[in-house]
């Protein structure tokens, strides 16, 4: 039976994670981490370690990885799970961040980079993180570049899978944060009164949040389908196929930006004030959205693949199709005339 919800294993993981995050990662902890020199939350890190987050990464089950990233995102947890779990799940390397598109969390010891340090073009290498060169982002976290060193050369055949999994987990984190911020905005407009009634009763406000909910739900559903497609039971390799990695990431970025802008508008000056939590979410969502580069070119490349018969016919699980994007017979009959005429 079709079921868009997490499976039992993910539900158990989500419940367990929330039991840790609710007491250990209130926004006061996020603020404290941001105010600290190293941007870290040691007590939270210890609690998540005791919970077994590393084991989740080692198990490399895409649904569970995505569910964990989602919940950590909802809590704005200042831990580099998305970056490190990607490397741990694909390469089995501990304390290393995915860094194919740029800088990585400064708290991680090593980084997986493309090209640099290898003699092979498009190669893959493990180098150390140059923590001394760390800089603080507008989201309050510290990012550092890879050190300029030769490092350890890795199996390049995993480059693509790393990138696809990084997109799924990055998307899941954004969707979690979007849901968290949307919930905050909804509570605010229910309580805030102007002109003698809750501002959430005004259509101009309510409709804006309705639109934010649609795109947030849509991105969440796409993340779950991408995780489902990635599973070995569906013939996946533990990361979503490129098409689903691209779609999940691009939609999550869009959702994060729509939700951030919408909730800010609905909260007025209070959303802009540092005293309120809205900005904790929106700064991170906007920053995380830029970590993997602009999604547009990836969407274009997906379109190119769908315009070549061999790659189009190899696509799995797009829309209602098991494989490819087949044309109904009658449309082939009627569209065919013109096709021949224009060639």
């Amino acid at each position: 039976m079709l079921d868009e919800r997490w499976s039992d294993a993910e539900v158990a993981l989500v419940d367990g994670l929330r039991a840790v995050l609710v007491p250990e990662c209130p926004t006061s902890v996020v603020r404290a981490a941001e105010a600290s020199d190293d941007g870290r939350a040691p007590r939270l890190e210890a609690a998540l370690g005791a919970f077994g987050l590393d084991e989740v990464a080692d198990a490399a089950e895409p649904g569970q990885l995505a569910a964990a990233a989602w919940e950590l995102g909802r809590a704005l947890a200042p831990v580099p799970f998305v970056e490190t779990a990607t490397v741990r799940a694909v390469l089995g390397i501990d304390d290393a961040a995915y860094g194919l598109e740029g800088t990585v969390p400064a708290s991680v010891g090593h980084v997986v980079v493309a090209g640099a340090g290898t003699s092979v073009d498009g190669g893959l290498a493990l180098v150390s993180v140059d923590a001394a060169a760390a800089r603080r982002t507008t989201a309050g976290d510290l990012l550092a570049p890879p050190r300029d060193e030769v490092g350890t050369i890795l199996d390049t055949s995993e480059t693509d899978r790393l990138g696809r999994l990084a997109r799924l987990l990055g998307a899941a984190r954004l969707v979690g944060a979007s849901e968290g911020l949307l919930a905050l905005g909804i509570e605010y407009v229910k309580g805030r009164e102007q002109f003698g009634r809750p501002v959430g009763a005004f259509q101009a406000v309510a409709h804006r949040l309705a639109d934010a909910a649609i795109v947030s739900d849509g991105a969440g559903l796409l993340v779950r389908k991408a995780a489902w497609v990635a599973a070995t039971e569906q013939g996946g390799d533990g990361a979503p196929e490129r098409l689903f990695a691209t779609m999940a990431w691009a939609k999550a970025v869009e959702a994060a930006r729509v939700v951030a802008a919408s909730v800010h508008q609905c909260m007025g000056g209070y959303g802009f004030a540092l005293e309120y939590d809205c900005q904790l979410f929106s700064r991170r969502m906007r920053s995380w959205s830029m970590r993997l580069g602009r999604p547009g070119p990836e969407l274009a490349s997906m379109a190119r693949a769908l315009l070549e018969a061999p790659s189009r016919d190899a696509v799995r699980h797009l829309w209602h199709n098991d494989q490819g994007v087949p044309l109904p017979r009658w449309a082939g009959d009627l569209d065919g005339n013109r096709e021949r005429a224009t060639r």
């Binding site: 959430g200 990836e298 274009a300």
Partner: protein
């Protein structure tokens, strides 16, 4: 978490797909001529009866009136047909009204109407809106006054799709003149051949007619009340839920884009980066639209109410259809500038169809509940925001 079909669903999907693949270009040309002659939207009796012959009208209805199938199998069925661009509107309207009879009709009404719906020899129209009652449907003024075993109906219904073909109008009317808003309303099945019924054409941009139905002291048997007298709003609310779960361009969009992908096969270079990005985003949004619809079916299958989720699907699908039609028309210009003769084939069928869709999708954000009303539903029932 399961986004794929199980064995039984897959076998069913393959059966439906085999039927879809049996439909030729010549068959569709025939459906289109029929629709043009009948001056109606997406309703070809020949196609309807092809479904009847397979027992596929009344899917999901209990025995003996229909064929009980799980909600997800209904979803698979409609998805296969809609994404093949086949004319389902006539089926959907008849089935929606049939479903209300299954749920609320008297035994006599069920016996009279359900077999006819499943045979495809009787057509029904939904009489809801009125000249002064659009989104504010409860402002309706059509009255039915009790007179022994009959009601005398006077008033007017507007935008009634296919009423000019319909044998019956499934109308909501005020039966208690002293009650207000949702109280005192009833559903009446009104035979369109009765004296005092007049049906006038309202030509619309899609290229067909909808109708205004006038009722001048029409005598309708009291036995034609569907559901409890004076409590028709509960029935109609259900009918509107069914209607919102229909596809308003969202599923059909996959069909148009599939045709475009095949048309431009091997020609990505002609599109340029900006258009390729747009194309990728459309593919993505059509996937999102499918997942929103799939969620709706899955919630229905679990027996839960999904009002907000239905509205999300409707808003997203219909607004996406408008964006997609405009984007494709732009791409296919100048061919998409020219309106073809309705019911006739064009040299460039895809461009002609998109020209039509650019006009047709205009109303998709209006019919079945406007986007504004849907957003109210999402805000109030989904997000828990207070009423305005």
């Amino acid at each position: 978490m399961n986004f794929g079909l199980d064995e039984r669903e897959r076998a069913w999907r393959d059966e439906v797909r085999a039927f879809v693949d049996s439909v030729s270009g010549a068959d569709v040309a025939g459906f289109r001529r029929e629709m043009a002659e009948l001056d109606v939207e997406r309703h070809a009796p020949t196609f309807y009866r092809m479904l009847c012959a397979r027992g596929w009208v009344g899917l999901g209805w209990p025995e003996p009136d229909g064929r009980p199938v799980p909600e997800t199998e209904r979803f698979v069925f409609h998805e296969e047909i809609d994404t093949a661009g086949l004319p389902m509107y006539g089926v959907e309207i008849n089935e929606a009204i049939g479903w209300m009879l299954v749920r609320h009709g008297s035994d006599a009404l069920k016996r009279e109407h359900l077999p006819r719906i499943r045979r495809g020899d009787t057509w029904y129209a939904g009489g809801y809106s009125e000249p002064d009652a659009g989104s504010d449907l409860l402002a309706l003024k059509t009255r039915a006054v009790r007179d022994g075993e009959t009601f005398r109906v006077s008033g007017s219904k507007l935008w009634t799709s296919s009423a000019h073909l319909a044998d019956f109008v499934f109308a909501i009317v005020r039966t208690d003149p002293d009650a207000t808003r949702q109280r005192g309303l009833s559903i009446l099945l009104i035979d369109t051949t009765l004296s005092g019924v007049e049906i006038a054409a309202v030509p619309v941009m899609g290229g067909w007619r909808v109708n205004q139905c006038f009722f001048d002291d029409v005598v309708v048997p009291a036995a034609n009340v569907v559901g409890v007298l004076d409590q028709g709003w509960a029935v109609l609310a259900e009918a509107l839920d069914v209607e919102r779960a229909m596809s308003f361009g969202g599923r059909e969009g996959r069909f148009w884009l599939t045709r475009l992908l095949h048309r431009y096969e091997g020609r990505a270079g002609e599109l340029g980066d900006a258009r390729l990005e747009d194309l990728g985003a459309l593919v993505m949004d059509l996937e999102v639209e499918r997942l929103l619809g799939l969620r709706l079916a899955a919630i229905g299958e679990r027996g839960a109410i999904a009002s907000a989720e239905a509205s999300m699907t409707k808003v997203f699908g219909s607004e996406l259809a408008q964006r997609q039609a405009q984007w494709m028309a732009d791409l296919l210009a100048p061919e998409s500038l020219f309106e073809g003769a309705r019911g006739e084939l064009a040299d460039d069928q895809l461009a002609a169809d998109i020209e039509e869709m650019l006009r047709v999708t205009t109303v998709y954000t209006v019919i079945g509940g406007t986007s504004e009303v849907q957003r109210n539903t999402i805000a109030q029932r989904g997000l828990g925001l207070p009423r305005g």
